[in-house]
């Protein structure tokens, strides 16, 4: 840790991981309701479970991004964060909002637009926290060294805050409502979040491979260019069936097919830099996560996205378990793994230790990734069967669901394995830090930071 204020990131990561636990717990509960429908039905109905599952995910990913920003911006800008006090105030606001939201959901107080269910006071808190954050990091960057990593990261974070403002606009016309709802949802996860993702990946690659910054930053601009060129008009794949004009079927199909490109570029980037650079960074676990992130993002976001993005395919698959399969692997591969990469990289530095518990961490990588892949396969199979029975044969929804029980049991099983691997990860990161580096992989020269 070169700058004292990087320490802020530690508390962001702690809070993020706590909400990660909440997300997984409620995911497992919701998965249980799929197979034992009467479970909790009188106390916490499925809609509340799912709301907490998705909201906790979004908030912890955001906390992870903020933590990553507080960690990497001092090193990039070569100066301390402008105001640590404001950074902690921001964290308090976000955590009060997050826990307040979970509490009020359990009491049945919530909005009703998917993912934007937060009560108004929480939404306002999010905006205030975002303003504090943007003020704090923008000032730090402007007064320090400017790099492509911070440029792209800041652009992504500003975009994140600006597009969230559409959460306050709720037209009475349901079609228009849906049109702008995607301005938050799609332009986040398939737009500005990809900027944040690519810049954090670029930072990790610079640190761990030691490849020349010029080369990495050239890749970075190319990747985020591909992301926005495809992702902005790629929003069209959500506009096929909600009352929008027919031209979106063409635009959405073409541009969202191209959305595979930035993920593929990230894979090429990460692996070519890994080959090109030093391969002796002591934090093997962080490096594994960093290489795994683009691969799983490519499959989850890219391949599973493409699977049902062409309009004539989506006509049959829209709103089935195929979508659920894609959603799970895309969020995991792109954003969960990105955050776990950053946390794996930063935690030893934040705790002032050599990389520790690496074997455990790498086990959690392999178990979590395999289990998420298995979950995606089961949901994909469920989705394909559902599409055929319901959309082609015309069987009713509930009849079809009865046919899918086996897949839902397997999904629950893989979800429980994910939960175990998350516990393993949390123990590896926050548990007692014993050194577990094999002697032979100890670098003989001073490692990169």
């Amino acid at each position: 840790m070169r700058f004292a204020t990087q320490r802020i990131a530690y508390w962001y990561f702690v809070c993020a991981m706590a909400l990660f636990g909440v997300q997984i717990l409620f995911g497992a509960l919701a998965g249980t309701v799929y197979v034992i429908p009467n479970f909790l039905s009188e106390i916490l109905p499925f809609n509340i479970l799912r709301m907490i599952h998705t909201n906790a995910l979004i908030v912890w990913l955001l906390l992870g991004f903020f933590g990553a920003a507080y960690y990497l911006i001092p090193e990039e800008a070569e100066r301390d964060i402008e105001s640590p006090m404001l950074a902690y105030a921001q964290l308090v606001i976000l955590m009060v909002g997050a826990l307040g939201a979970v509490g009020s959901y359990m009491l049945g107080i919530h909005g009703g637009r998917e993912f934007l269910e937060q009560p108004l006071w929480v939404k306002i808190g999010i905006v205030v926290a975002a303003l504090i954050f943007l003020y704090n990091v923008s000032l730090t960057v402007l007064r320090g060294r400017r790099t492509a990593v911070t440029n792209v990261l800041l652009l992504g974070l500003w975009g994140l805050a600006i597009f969230f403002l559409f959460a306050f606009y709720n037209p009475s016309n349901i079609a228009v409502d849906k049109l702008y709802w995607w301005y938050v949802v799609h332009l986040w996860v398939e737009g500005v979040w990809e900027l944040i993702m690519a810049s954090i990946l670029a930072f990790l690659v610079i640190k761990m491979t030691g490849v020349d910054r010029e080369v990495v930053e050239k890749w970075l601009y190319a990747i985020v260019g591909l992301a926005l060129f495809s992702g902005l008009l790629g929003t069209g794949h959500h506009y096929y069936w909600i009352g929008a004009p027919g031209y979106w079927q063409w635009i959405g199909s073409v541009f969202s097919t191209l959305e595979v490109a930035p993920f593929f570029a990230m894979v090429l980037f990460a692996f070519s830099m890994a080959w090109k650079g030093r391969r002796d960074h002591p934090n093997k676990a962080a490096f594994l996560w960093t290489l795994g992130t683009p691969v799983m993002a490519f499959f989850g976001g890219g391949v599973w996205g493409f699977l049902h993005t062409l309009s004539f395919v989506n006509y049959y698959s829209h709103g089935t378990q195929v979508t659920a399969a894609h959603g799970h692997l895309a969020f995991f591969g792109a954003y969960v793994m990105l955050n776990l990469s950053m946390i794996s990289y930063a935690m030893p530095n934040l705790r002032n230790r050599a990389p520790y518990n690496q074997v455990l961490n790498m086990w959690s990588f392999w178990i979590m990734t395999s289990a998420m892949a298995f979950m995606t396969f089961t949901l994909t199979f469920a989705g394909v069967v559902q599409v055929h029975l319901q959309r082609v044969m015309g069987m009713t929804y509930m009849e079809v669901q009865d046919q899918l029980a086996l897949f839902y049991w397997m999904r629950l099983g893989s979800g429980i394995v994910v939960a175990l691997s998350v516990l393993l990860f949390l123990y590896a990161m926050f548990g007692p830090a014993r050194e577990q580096i094999p002697q032979r992989s100890r670098p003989s020269v001073a490692p990169a930071e």
Binding site: S41, F46, G225, L228, W241, G319, V392
Partner: protein
Amino acid sequence: MAERLTKSATRNIFYGGSAFFFVVFVLLTAHTHYYMRTVSTDESTLSESVIRGKHVWERNSCINCHTLLGEGAYFAPELGNVWIRYGGRDDPQGARDALKAWMQSQPSGVEGRRQMPQFNLTDQELDDLVDFLEWTSRVKTQGWPPNNAG
């Protein structure tokens, strides 16, 4: 990457290209907004009760079990066409009564069957919600869903 492609060139392509696509996207959104309000939905029948019904829909977070025009959770049936599935086009009063009776009779308590909660809606709220679902069923959705099953 090719040596002749410098970092500043890729940066300029990124900023320029993104700005271009963003402007195109905003223009298309503006047209879509206009199209939705004038062609694909019938705003002349977007009554107070439909608007109240949308709030009932939101306050009870129906979207976190059901889908509406294919968006939402995938735990319960599609409701964008529920009005049509219940025969509302031929027998509006029958469909309205059936939908209201369905919601009032939940949860079914049947073992091994997904349970819809009892939301304790007033008669007014039930009517508003049905009005909202009826209005939504008339959104021109390019022919989606493929059949009545939704």
